[in-house]
């Protein structure tokens, strides 16, 4: 099972791929976020065109024991539209930066989606019956001539083809001067935070006309600006605790009980840098692009340009583990700077918390023992914290047959390239995997290439 060997002992197989086959990618189709809901039954994607597509997992077919249910389109809607702010001369992109699901409370599903400026709460509900037999209306809605009505009847609900409707229930607007990079729902399930480059706001899900500012790092004089907020997340269990990461590679943990404005951190996580190693690129590649708490909240993981770091919340002065994602890029920084790739924001995610491991696990570890993150050339990487083994896989339509185990890939950094290896200079830097997601309970992963969504599952016996 999952816990025994970890990342390398899971045998990943291709399951599905969604999206257009052609190479000519329209900008609107660029996937910008991927997120499973809390049960894993639903998988949402957001794109640069402001659209959200939700997939639903089929109910497991008991006769088809060789694979878990497939994901099919459940709902799709336009979440955000482009806007132009004439007053500030600012173009507001409709690109969906983040989607976060609320835990399910009733028949409907709720998610938060955000672009650079506005967060929206969407309700996704099913309708599978409709009332029929009105007295005053025909079935098509036209009003009947009242003089023809001679009897009364009670309208009844009759089954209809399933219709899934998405409607915006709350619009949280006008609270961010800068660009929103993160939203995170609190463990109290009543509030959430939204973070932009310089500020973090706290909202109540029911209230749209008021928001509390809890972090403000804007300097009085903008010339003194040295760092910006890059990501933020609430602690999974402690409703007064959250962290935010910066462009300088630091993470600050704040406790909302300490003061109304959490400008003074409770903890500052920073790895000391060897000053002799400092270069023009140091700060850029140390910028943290994503931060994710582990399931228990004891650890958190950060992603910077070249590595993933695991931090123990009890130790501020250095990470407990560091995993190199693509260290071979360090000798390509000049060209990566020239083509802007050095500014790519990779996300990272933990494995789901497997039910089996919870009952059978003997170790004190966290249940969060595998890290997944993307790279270039449509490669993505997994690191097993227990075995210290790692693997590189590729999301590609070639050589991907269902139930065939994916072949590990290897990049040849220098020296003689072996057969089946790919040299650094042959990597396609336009094929980036920035967004990945792991099913909360099963070994199913969703990996987004530029405009396609791949779903992989572990090989079941």
């Amino acid at each position: 099972f999952l816990g025994a060997g970890g990342g390398n002992d899971i045998q990943w197989c291709f399951s599905q791929v969604k999206g257009a086959v052609d190479d000519d990618v329209a900008e609107a189709d660029i996937i910008s976020t991927v997120e499973f809901n809390h049960s894993g039954e639903l998988l949402a994607t957001g794109d640069k065109g402001g659209r959200v597509v939700i997939f639903q997992q089929e109910q497991e077919n008991k006769t088809q024991s060789h694979s878990r249910g497939e994901y099919n389109v459940y709902s799709t809607f336009q979440s955000h539209e482009p806007e132009f702010d004439y007053l500030k001369s600012l173009e507001i992109e409709e690109k969906i930066n983040k989607i976060r699901w609320l835990p399910q409370k009733n028949a409907a599903q709720f998610l938060l989606s955000t672009n650079d400026k506005t967060i929206k709460l969407w309700k996704i509900s099913e309708r599978d019956k409709r009332p029929e037999g009105y007295n005053l209306k025909e079935e098509d809605g036209r009003y009947r001539d009242p003089t023809t009505v001679t009897t009364l009847r009670v309208p009844v609900f009759r089954p209809m083809d399933l219709m899934v409707e998405a409607s915006p229930r709350r619009i949280f607007a006008n609270a961010h001067t800068y660009h929103i990079n993160s939203i995170s729902i609190n463990s109290d399930y009543e509030t959430y935070l939204s973070a932009d480059d310089l500020r973090i706001n706290l909202w109540h899900l029911e209230i749209t006309d008021r928001s509390f500012n809890i972090v403000d790092i804007k300097p009085a004089n903008m010339e003194e600006l040295t760092e910006v907020i890059t990501a933020a997340e609430f602690h999974p269990n402690s409703c007064s605790t959250f962290v935010y990461s910066s462009s300088k590679g630091t993470i600050r943990l704040c406790d909302m009980r300490a003061s109304a404005l959490c400008d003074r951190h409770s903890k500052l996580f920073e790895e000391p840098e060897d000053p002799s190693n400092r270069s023009f690129f140091s700060e850029i590649i140390s910028s943290i692009s994503d931060v994710k708490f582990s399931h228990s909240g004891r650890y958190m993981m950060t992603r910077d340009y070249l590595s993933v770091k695991i931090w123990d919340l009890n130790m501020e002065n250095r990470p407990v583990e560091t995993y190199q994602v693509h260290e071979y890029l360090r000798s390509k920084l000049c060209s990566l700077y020239e083509n802007d790739c050095i500014f790519d924001k990779f996300e990272c995610c933990w494995n789901g918390s497997d039910r089996q491991v919870k009952f059978l696990s003997l170790c004190t570890s966290d249940l969060s023992n595998i890290v997944m993150t993307g790279s270039y050339n449509n490669f993505f990487r997994m690191f097993d914290r227990n075995t210290k083994r790692d693997i590189t896989l590729e999301a590609s339509r070639e050589n991907n047959k269902p139930r065939t185990v994916l072949k590990p890939r290897k990049v040849c950094a220098s020296g003689k390239r072996k057969k089946d290896e790919i040299s650094v200079d042959s990597l396609d830097f336009n094929k980036k995997i920035l967004h990945t997601a792991w099913h909360p309970k099963e070994n199913i992963i969703a990996v987004a290439t530029t405009n396609n969504l791949y779903i992989f599952q572990d090989k079941m016996n």
Binding site: T45, R51, V53, V73, T76, S89, E91, D197, S279, I284
Partner: protein, 100 residues
Amino acid sequence: QDSQEKDKSIPPERAEEAKLKAKYPNLGQRPGGSDFLMKRLQKGQKYFDSGDYNMAKAKMKNKQLPSAGPDKNLVTGDHIPTPQDLPQRKSSLVTSKLAG
């Protein structure tokens, strides 16, 4: 060979930095980061000043405002950008291909 030995002692990051400075000698003295912060904060900024526009409209009264030439991205000199000059942002009316 001499150059190989040199490579061993120079960390790859420094070697890359030297390459960059050789190409762009005027690159800011500040470490990479600060310039990008400002650029990041200003993402999405277009050059349209509602004050200039309204004042120019008032001055011109009934005359037409000069519109941008064929290259709408090139707005320079005395030309006052108008809302019509700004690239039109069409919303995506097409369904996502992921849902296809």
